[in-house]
């Protein structure tokens, strides 16, 4: 854990989306978490982006209409 450096708001904002996308490596992720624990401004921003991303995730899910579900079931049956 000795690799963890203190980062400022500018760096935290630059890393924000990669952090939310879970694309940061261990040390950079930990630095980000540490900053968010101590900085209210960046924490609020991160929470907002996290919620927005969550809402977008729900957009990617749409109940398949019954006729279409049947079409896929029939398709699977033929395999």
């Amino acid at each position: 854990m000795s690799d963890i450096k203190e980062i400022g708001c500018e760096e935290a904002l630059r890393r924000l989306f990669e952090y939310l996308d879970r694309e940061l490596d261990g040390a950079r992720h930990a630095e980000m978490e540490q900053h968010l624990h101590t900085c209210r401004a960046c924490y609020s921003r991160a929470e907002f982006e996290r919620h927005l991303k969550g809402k977008l995730g729900a957009v990617g899910k749409e109940p398949a209409p019954p006729e279409f579900e049947l079409r896929i079931k029939n398709l699977l049956r033929r395999f």
């Binding site: 982006e49 809402k55 957009v59 279409f68 699977l76």
Partner: protein
Amino acid sequence: MTDADRAFFEQEITGLLDRLYGTALRLAKNRADAEDLVAETVTKAWANFGSLHDRQCFRGWLFRILTNTFLSECRKTEPASLEALAEAQGEPDEEPAFSLFDRLHQPFLLWWGNPEQEFLNKVLQQDLQKAVDALPEVFRVPVILCDLQGLNYQEIAETLGVPVGTVRSRLNRGRSQLQKALWQHAQEAGLKHAPAADKESFHISQTGEHHERH
């Protein structure tokens, strides 16, 4: 294929159908094409199922087939549309990203008590859909794969056949445009919710009003 393979495949497809369909709708933007796209994806996936070695990767693999099927379909009609668009939009770029959060905190928006919470409470599924649909395809596809489906950058890079750095830059620009569209929508919605401005009487000329409504 054994019966166990067949059962696994069927169970995965059934479990992911709402996600496949939701993604196909955002890619194709209409129900008929979205349904054909999913059916074609399922057929291709079954035909290639034997070549998938790690079943932990099924989901990413399936969405890759879906995306590539969509992209090859649209390339038939508009050749190399993605590359042409990427070229036209220019990349990579360092222009500052549009931040919806910062806009929501502008001081004149006082009628929204906690602006970001208010926004999150009010924004509708269909507002988000519209904002995604309005993105140019070169940004829409990575945003769909990342934010709507949760694929990682490496999976998106492999799907699109571009480096991870390109994925990152297209995501940044896509999100920036998405937030700008949501901000424009929020402004209109704010005006619409104000007493004097119902849907029918809303005109661009009234946009100045929001400065006075505290």
